[in-house]
């Protein structure tokens, strides 16, 4: 514990602040995170009945029931003294962040445990909105059970700040019926995909070739990051320090993405599409190909909301012709965070941790469409052999990290999507200039001086 305390006391920023920090300490009362919220508090599982609150979006299982309730029921069988109440959440990820940050920054003790985006941990850690959960190397038995890149998203300054819960992996969905009808193969490269999409458009069977997410928001950063990786590039290095986007790979990616629209492979409307709009275009039968996360398998296959149920195929994303990298997907997903102000620390830790472990992960993987984070469960033949092919494919996916390691990731991402989006909707432009501008914006963001 003492090592945690000192690491926070002398965080990078505090050190930089140096004398200014000392001078203003009296004014502020508390400047920076000078203490560990876990210190001096019991993490034991309570022996008397307690109630904790879990904030999570509704998670529908394969029968359309609420997966959260099955998980809570199983947890309570294991820990009879702990009752878990479910809290409702705002609809979108960003509004959810707003609600959580205002509540927790204000010292709210509820929710005790909350489900948050895997891009959040450094930002939430930096702003004292999450409980530090120790260094992975101090608990290898627990943390080594997860893919290294998944663990990486939970880290900030060496500590973990959330327990991995489920993964979102991006796939290429296609209209299997149309490919069969015209005797076309499932594309293995982006170039093949573009040709096939154009062919299918020409036949008049679909209005759009390929739909994806190009709206001016985080979702575009996800799309751009993985396609950049297909081209052999990256936004930043693994430590989220060095900016690498201004490269040949960057140019190739940007040109290809805007070319998709210019050539008519994708409609110009993808520049306004987030997941929902792209999903609608595909499940209404208007598009031949769709890039979307794991959930789209269920959404496209549900006859109630989809006109193409039973006619859809899925593969891991293609890559560029001649690229050394394939099977890539931006790592998306959700982690469980513990509120640093919780009054039931022991119970909250037990629950958040249990959700990441074998029993909960197996329930999730066998009764719902959500992809488990625990490597052993994801590789379990019983899980991969299910009707839902995304499980089998997920085990093979290569996960690409967004540069979420910096607490300024939202600004970094904003520099990316606000630069890429106009290129998509306006078409072409000087991509070299755009990349230089994007890199400059990312640099300001990384240094914490961007607005």
């Amino acid at each position: 514990m003492s090592s945690m305390g000192s690491s926070m006391e002398f965080s990078r920023r505090s050190l930089l602040a140096g004398g200014a920090l000392l001078a203003t300490a009296g004014l502020a009362g508390c400047a920076g995170d000078t203490r560990n919220p876990m210190e001096g508090r019991s993490t034991a599982i309570p022996d008397h009945p307690v109630t904790i609150e879990w904030l999570s979006q509704e998670l529908a299982d394969n029968e359309g029931r609420d997966l959260r309730r099955s998980l809570v029921a199983a947890f309570q069988r294991r820990f009879p003294t702990i009752t878990v109440d479910l809290l409702q959440v705002p609809p979108t990820t960003d509004v959810r962040r707003t609600t959580l940050t205002t509540q927790i920054a204000g010292g709210a003790t509820s929710p005790d445990v909350y489900l948050g985006d895997c891009a959040w941990p450094p930002q939430f850690a930096h702003h004292a909105l999450a409980m530090p959960l120790g260094r992975p190397e101090d608990d290898p038995g627990f943390w080594s059970a997860y893919p290294e890149r998944v663990v990486a998203t939970t880290l900030y300054e060496g500590q973990a700040w959330a327990f991995p819960f489920y993964l979102d992996i991006a796939f290429l969905y296609h209209r299997a019926d149309l490919l069969a009808k015209h005797d076309l193969a499932v594309p293995r490269t982006w170039e093949e995909m573009a040709d096939t999409a154009l062919r299918l458009r020409e036949t008049g069977d679909v209005r759009y070739g390929f739909v994806w997410q190009g709206a001016s928001s985080e979702t575009l950063t996800c799309n751009f990051t993985e396609m950049l990786a297909d081209a052999g590039g990256a936004l930043m290095d693994d430590a989220a320090r060095r900016i690498l986007v201004d490269s040949d790979a960057g140019r190739q990616t940007l040109e290809f993405m805007s070319g998709l629209i210019a050539r008519g492979v994708s409609p110009a409307a993808v520049g306004t599409f987030a997941e929902e709009q792209a999903m609608t275009a595909f499940s209404s039968g208007q598009a031949a190909f769709l890039r979307n996360w794991s959930y789209a398998w269920g959404a496209a296959g549900n006859p109630e909301g989809s006109a193409v149920a039973g006619r859809v195929g899925v593969t891991l994303r293609p890559t560029f012709d001649g690229s050394g990298r394939s099977r890539l997907s931006t790592l998306g997903g959700w982690h469980n965070f513990v509120n640093p102000h919780t009054r039931q620390l022991g119970a909250a830790l037990a629950f958040a941790r249990w959700l990441a472990q074998e029993e909960a992960q197996t329930i999730m993987a066998t009764t719902s469409p959500y992809t488990p984070t625990l490597a052993a469960v994801l590789a379990d033949p019983e899980v991969t052999a299910q009707d839902n092919p995304t499980f089998r494919l997920s085990a093979d996916a290569e996960l690409v990290l967004r540069p979420t390691g910096t607490p300024y990731y939202p600004q970094v991402s904003k520099a990316v999507y606000t630069s890429v989006n106009p290129v998509l909707v306006e078409g072409g432009g000087d991509v070299t200039e755009v990349l230089a501008e994007m890199a400059a914006g990312m640099e300001r963001a990384r240094d914490g001086v961007a607005l």
Binding site: A23, L27, G107, A215, P267, P422, V425
Partner: protein, 328 residues
């Protein structure tokens, strides 16, 4: 009370302060004391609500002003001010995005308020002449205004949707091709303005109508006698007398339009790029997505200051033009 002929034409409630009866000099002391006691009782009765207003309005304003001059960090004990600084404002002034947001917000305000004013006044003139159906039509007109903006914005998002939107369908049936309304800067800004004008023109119409029905009829009779046609009557009689009403409508609209948030938030999220990012949206993103508290507070505070300044300037210009007439 002695009045000049000119003053008699001005309704009592609009009389300038100079025309009001002298309340101090001539009144007996006893009445003064009485008034003071009444005032004390008045303050006593209103103090609980003043306290509430202070807590929910003044405190947050002052707090956010302080935050805007501070380097702030969220800690396990809540907000911590690390240092007082002008850096947040310096950052704003050095940010191209902020200038763009300011430009967009000003353009949006000027264009929507101007168009709403013209359309609203026209609607009010028609409404005033309506007989039996006026109540019903007013009720109908108020539907857009009474709708929560987030809801109406969502409706406009459906209308503008590039795959199944009705606007897209109309364009396609007429011209064979449809613009990507929310996907390109110019059309996204125009689309947003249309949604705003649709929603708030009725508000302007109702306010102007209220002013119209209160206009004294004798002036119109006089104009008629002098041989003024309808056009001249409108420009020379109706409009000058409506000035204070219109000023109120403009003020309300400037205040609202300058803080535009829900329309861009729902329709475009500020995109494409940052084309429709208003100051309020930028402030929201800076504060709540980036958790960049100091600069976020600076955006909020400067926006407040700018709109207050704009309103004061407008009022001053307006007063100078209308002379002594009380506009509030």
């Amino acid at each position: 009370m002695r009045t000049t002929a000119g003053e008699a034409l001005v309704p009592p409630q609009r009389r300038s302060p100079e025309g009001m009866p002298a309340g101090r000099g001539g009144a007996p002391d006893r009445r003064d004391a009485m008034q003071r006691r009444m005032a004390r009782i008045g303050w006593g009765y209103t103090s609980p609500s003043l306290l509430v207003i202070g807590l929910v309005t003044l405190f947050p304003i002052v707090f956010s002003l302080v935050l805007s001059f501070a380097r702030v960090r969220i800690t396990y004990d809540g907000f911590a001010v690390e240092a007082l600084t002008l850096g947040n404002y310096v950052a704003l002034l050095g940010s191209g995005d902020w200038y763009y947001a300011l430009g967009f917000t000003v353009l949006y305000t000027v264009v929507t308020v101007a168009i709403e004013l013209v359309l609203g006044t026209l609607a009010a003139l028609v409404l005033e002449r309506l007989g039996a159906g006026r109540g019903w039509i007013m009720a109908l007109l108020l539907i857009p205004w009474s709708m929560i903006t987030v809801v109406s914005a969502q409706l406009w998002a459906y209308i503008y949707n590039s795959t199944y939107g009705v606007a897209t369908w109309v364009f396609e049936s007429l011209f064979g091709t449809a613009p990507l309304i929310l996907g390109r800067p110019v059309s996204a800004i125009a689309g947003m303005m249309v949604a705003d004008i649709w929603k708030t023109t009725p508000f302007v119409a109702i306010i102007v109508l209220a002013g119209l029905v209160m206009l004294p009829q004798d002036v119109y009779e006089a104009a008629d006698v002098d041989g003024a046609g309808p056009w001249t009557t409108f420009w020379r009689v109706t409009l000058p007398q409506l000035r204070s009403t219109i000023a109120v409508a403009i003020l309300f609209r400037i205040l609202q339009a300058f803080g535009v948030f829900d329309l861009p938030f729902v329709l475009t999220g500020g995109g494409p790029g940052i084309a429709t990012q208003s100051l309020a949206v930028m402030g929201y993103k800076t504060l709540f997505q980036d958790l960049n508290i100091g600069p976020g507070a600076a955006i909020a505070a400067s926006t407040g200051l700018l709109v207050a300044g704009a309103c004061l300037l407008f009022l001053r210009a307006f007063k100078a033009q209308v002379g002594k007439e009380d506009v509030t």
